[in-house]
């Protein structure tokens, strides 16, 4: 199969216009020693039908029919059909970054609406057009905080998603940042301890609900950071923000997170989008694209990429980030999903997740699978003791068709028997009963 149009006659005519005898001659600037003198050693071309069969075979080797209670940052939420319909509109799907606004009002307005939705949910003033995922936006936020404060220490709570912490630590040396972790105490972060650690720090990153699914006392954590004159950065789940307070309302300088929960399939980890929203005074330090409202030559409202002097294509080595390609299509999926939900639907989505998760926690507890952090309020995810190595419990449950959760021992010493169980609105009471049975 090929997606090429040129006929032999076309090629001859084009070569004649160029004034060369062969296509090979077009490559004469490449030194002979650097030419690849043979055919690429890859499998033969496939027709579309063969391709479909080959990929179906690969997809068939993945196990996706176990009931999913796995979360830990990526969640099995429902994606509405309208999301797919919108994303398959070729004018949106196959466009690039809207450098030419007259050709791109559709994407520009969609991003402006996305920015508005993210600001509404997080209670912040400004949002960029998206970052790569929920981990990289954390590194971005550190870069912003470093330059805004002139300080070079970042504090991250241990109850923050381990992959977020890992990415921040990977980026930190290049940024000239030192990363300090504050341990959790019984599943949550102690504000006083956080305040001490935050002395002299540029920013404090905490997660709400945290990695264990527990509700931190987020306003107190933000206050502790502010007391120490470090920027509070909340890593939040968009789906929780119908029921949980917006970070902007409790003094955060930035709100960030993984957007997959809104509008995106799990897709083995991507592509998804990270969101990054901030107080208005940080707008010139934000990484990535930002869309702004303006008027056209006739005085009609329109949208453009704005404040581009922050970005690498203009500011080069002094840019706020090197990011170019972002995740606009996935952020659009989030916007469509949130638009379908509306404020009431988002609230109900949070309520349903909480109700089902509470039921699961209670039933598991009754079956002898006690919560790891028994006195803490949770959202849609919680940790339980399995009373044996968690991977063994997981394996036995999988044999009964249930993917029961995430073994916390992967990231936390001393929690080898603990399983992190996530319950979305897609799970039913019957499925939860099967989970209990599978783990008992």
């Amino acid at each position: 199969m090929s997606y090429l149009s040129l006929t032999a006659a076309d090629r001859d005519a084009m070569l004649a216009t160029i004034g060369v005898a062969s296509v090979d001659e077009l490559f004469r600037d490449i030194p002979p020693a650097m030419r690849y003198g043979r055919a690429l050693d890859v499998a033969p071309a496939l027709t579309e039908a063969e391709l479909q069969r080959h990929l179906e075979e690969l997809a068939g080797k993945n196990v996706v029919d176990e009931i999913c209670f796995l979360g830990a940052g990526i969640y099995d939420h429902y994606v509405p059909a309208v999301v797919d319909a919108v994303l398959q509109r070729g004018e949106l799907l196959t466009a690039y970054t809207p450098y030419q606004p007259e050709m791109s009002q559709g994407v520009l307005q969609a991003i402006f609406e996305y920015q508005t939705a993210v600001c509404e949910l997080t209670g912040m003033d400004v949002s960029n057009a998206s970052g790569y995922d929920g981990t990289t936006v954390a590194a971005d936020a550190c870069f912003v905080a470093k330059h805004a404060t002139g300080k070079s220490k970042i504090v991250v709570t241990e109850a923050t998603n381990p992959q977020v912490r890992q990415v921040v630590k990977t980026y930190a040396p290049g940024f000239g940042l030192e990363v300090v972790e504050v341990p959790h105490e019984g599943g949550t972060t102690d504000p006083a301890r956080l305040r001490d650690a935050a002395q002299g720090a540029a920013a404090v990153i905490f997660q709400q609900p945290n990695f264990f699914g527990i509700l931190e006392n987020a306003p107190e954590l933000a206050a502790a950071a502010n007391d120490a004159e470090a920027m509070p950065i909340a890593h939040v789940d968009l789906v929780s923000l119908g029921v949980l307070e917006a970070p902007g309302k409790y003094g955060c300088a930035m709100a960030i997170g993984e957007g997959q929960s809104a509008g995106n399939a799990m897709s083995y980890g991507g592509p998804h989008y990270g969101f990054l929203a901030a107080r208005s005074d940080l707008i010139r330090r934000l990484p990535g694209r930002i869309v702004g409202e303006t008027v056209d030559a006739a005085g009609d409202r329109g949208y453009v990429l704005t404040l581009q002097t922050r970005e690498q294509h203009i500011r080069r080595e002094k840019a706020t980030s090197n990011i170019t390609t972002n995740q606009t299509l996935l952020a659009l999926a989030g916007l469509v999903h949130l638009s379908l939900l509306g404020p009431r639907g988002l609230r109900e989505l949070g309520d349903t997740c909480m109700a089902l998760a509470a039921y699961a926690k209670e039933r598991l507890g009754a079956a002898g699978l006690e919560p790891v952090f028994s006195d803490k309020a949770t959202f849609k995810e919680f940790a339980i003791h399995t009373g044996r190595p968690a991977r063994d419990a997981l394996g036995d449950a999988r044999a009964k068709g249930v993917y029961a959760g995430y073994p916390l021992g992967r990231d936390y010493a001393g929690l080898d028997d603990a399983l992190l169980v996530a319950v979305t609105e897609k799970r039913t009471v019957e499925e939860i009963d099967r989970l209990v049975e599978a783990l008992s």
Binding site: R284, T306, T309, I314, R315
Partner: protein, 131 residues
């Protein structure tokens, strides 16, 4: 809005298209007509802090249009006495009046002898011809 091209003969110039007006042991600094024309309408001025020390030939701030950003290169060393708030609030003032209302900072000269190294109008015009 845009001013017409001019280069006053009572100023000293720096080849990076900055000017200085010497007033006793102080100087007022700005950018030339050529610089503002090359940048286009300014939308942002990032000034230094009052009290900051700036060095000859080094950057003391930035101005931005929608498509470009430019370092402000100081023609002279000194201490920042005053920032032109009018330009902070309305950066296009530089486009309208680069040598008057569009001045950028006032400094106290650290080394008045440095002014002998700057260009007079005739020398600056040669720089412009080559640009």
């Amino acid at each position: 809005m845009a001013s017409s091209e001019s280069y006053p003969d009572d100023l000293l110039y720096h080849p990076e298209h900055d000017w200085a007006r010497i007033e006793g042991d102080e100087a007022v600094l700005g950018v030339t007509w050529y610089a503002q024309d090359a940048l286009g309408e300014l939308v942002h001025y990032e000034p230094p802090d009052v009290g900051a020390t700036i060095g000859k030939n080094s950057s003391y701030g930035e101005v931005e249009s929608v498509k470009a950003v430019s370092d402000l290169v100081s023609p002279l060393s000194g201490e920042v006495l005053e920032v032109n708030q009018k330009v902070v609030d309305a950066p296009e003032t530089v486009n309208e009046d680069p040598y008057g209302d569009g001045w950028l900072i006032r400094i106290r000269l650290a080394n008045p002898d440095e002014q002998t190294q700057l260009l007079d109008l005739e020398a600056y015009r040669k720089v412009l011809e080559e640009a």
